[in-house]
């Protein structure tokens, strides 16, 4: 009975410590607001832009509101003079970590890219002969792994602690459903699947806050570049769809 209580208390303590570790990391990562943007490096197309397209529906709600952290696993090697603790977390990017609304970013980037490479003009309200475009996000996820380890070495009258944190490549998964119509006729009905993995920039900076900022920035950069790829593919297909029509 005595050991039963002890085990229960120990398990509860470990559970609470485990939860607080994730929460502490989440709180720290959530403090960062990072830019979501990219360089438009496409060549400006010289084509007929007499056709009008109105973006009548856009649903980008598949993107999470807040950044979240969940503990994947951890290892502890408690020896007499040497202790090693390792923790791995799964981190998912959310809207609150970005410096602007993701839907606004998508719409603005789509408008800029349409102005560069789209053989059409974006209009606010569709006229009779104009096309209508619907863009619906089915999936919009940016995830990464964050690793922490601590080594403690006990010497006779002293001890040494060494901690390390490492961010893994950020991976963005986008699944976007696009429908282009002219009146009732469907010109284009495609799903776009983008998978963008971006390794973090190598850094010898030992400042934990900077490292965490870079980690969140890397995730936002991966999302930006994934969105870029997606927009470029959509515009390519819209151009082909209009040309065939």
């Amino acid at each position: 009975m005595k050991y039963g209580r002890f085990t229960l208390v120990l398990t509860l303590s470990l559970f609470l410590i485990s939860c607080s570790e994730s929460k502490m990391l989440m709180k720290s990562l959530r403090e960062n607001r990072v830019p979501v943007d990219y360089l438009h490096d496409s060549k400006i197309a010289d084509c007929d832009r007499s056709d009008g397209i109105a973006l009548t529906a856009f649903d980008g709600h598949a993107f999470d509101t807040d950044l979240s952290v969940t503990k994947i696993n951890g290892e502890v090697f408690p020896f007499l003079f040497y202790n090693y603790i390792e923790k791995n977390f799964a981190v998912k990017l959310g809207q609150m970590s970005l410096d602007r609304d993701y839907s606004d970013f998508f719409k603005e980037s789509f408008a800029i890219e349409s102005g560069r490479t789209g053989c059409y003009s974006l209009v606010d309200e569709p006229a009779e002969n104009d096309y209508t475009l619907e863009i619906v996000y089915d999936t919009c996820i940016t995830v990464s792994k964050y690793h922490q380890n601590t080594t403690i070495i006990f010497l006779i009258f002293t001890y040494s602690i060494y901690s390390q944190e490492v961010g893994f490549p950020a991976q963005t998964d986008l699944s976007v459903h696009v429908t282009l119509r002219k009146g009732d006729e469907i010109i284009l009905d495609n799903k776009y699947f983008i998978n963008k993995t971006l390794p973090p920039i190598p850094s010898d900076n030992m400042n934990i806050n900077k490292m965490r900022f870079d980690f969140v920035s890397n995730m936002a950069e991966s999302l930006s570049l994934g969105t870029k790829e997606c927009i470029e593919q959509i515009i390519d297909d819209i151009n082909s769809g209009i040309r065939k029509n």
Partner: protein, 173 residues
């Protein structure tokens, strides 16, 4: 007296360490830049393109920067002050020494025949100076680099260089 000596030694070592700080910008030729694996590259390059390397001053500057012979380069530049390429060369020297204020002064004096170099260095240096002054503005620099990219739509190497610059600006605020 003993402590003063120790202090001076530490100060000297710190100075030596600071002088060995890694360069942030690397001058490179078009030939070398066209062979770089841009997917993996994280270095900031300053390109010498077109007829830049036909200039004796720029070619010598490139060679001396490459071999990190900075004092020799400074000495050499003092002998070519009348050359039209003195200003870009001096700007590159100052960037290598992380003297960004001086570098911007020389960059402003670069003639129109090296306009791309002038425009690129001008954005880079304004970014470095604003960062040092704590007036970082990511959007402004992204727009400046975007404008430069659009001004040279056929220059693929420049696009790749600028893509790395944007990463650099994104992470170094």
């Amino acid at each position: 007296m003993k402590y003063v000596k120790i202090y001076l030694v530490i100060l000297g070592l710190t100075g030596l360490f600071m002088s060995c700080a890694p360069a942030k910008y690397f001058v490179e030729t078009e030939d070398v830049l066209s062979q770089i694996d841009w997917e993996r590259n994280v270095l900031n390059y300053i390109p010498l393109m077109g007829d830049d390397l036909h200039s004796d001053v720029l070619y010598a500057t490139y060679q001396l920067l490459k071999s990190k012979k900075y004092s020799q380069l400074n000495l050499y530049l003092s002998t070519v002050q009348n050359s039209p390429d003195y200003y870009p060369a001096k700007a590159l020297y100052c960037i290598a020494k992380s003297k960004y204020t001086d570098a911007l002064e020389y960059t402003d004096k670069i003639k129109e025949n090296r306009i791309l170099l002038k425009q690129l260095l001008s954005i880079d240096l304004n970014y470095e100076l604003s960062r040092m002054a704590g007036e970082y503005n990511y959007k402004k620099f992204l727009q400046d680099y975007q404008n430069l990219t659009d001004e040279y739509p056929d220059n693929d190497i420049l696009k790749k260089i600028i893509a790395v610059r944007i990463r650099y600006v994104r992470y170094n605020n």
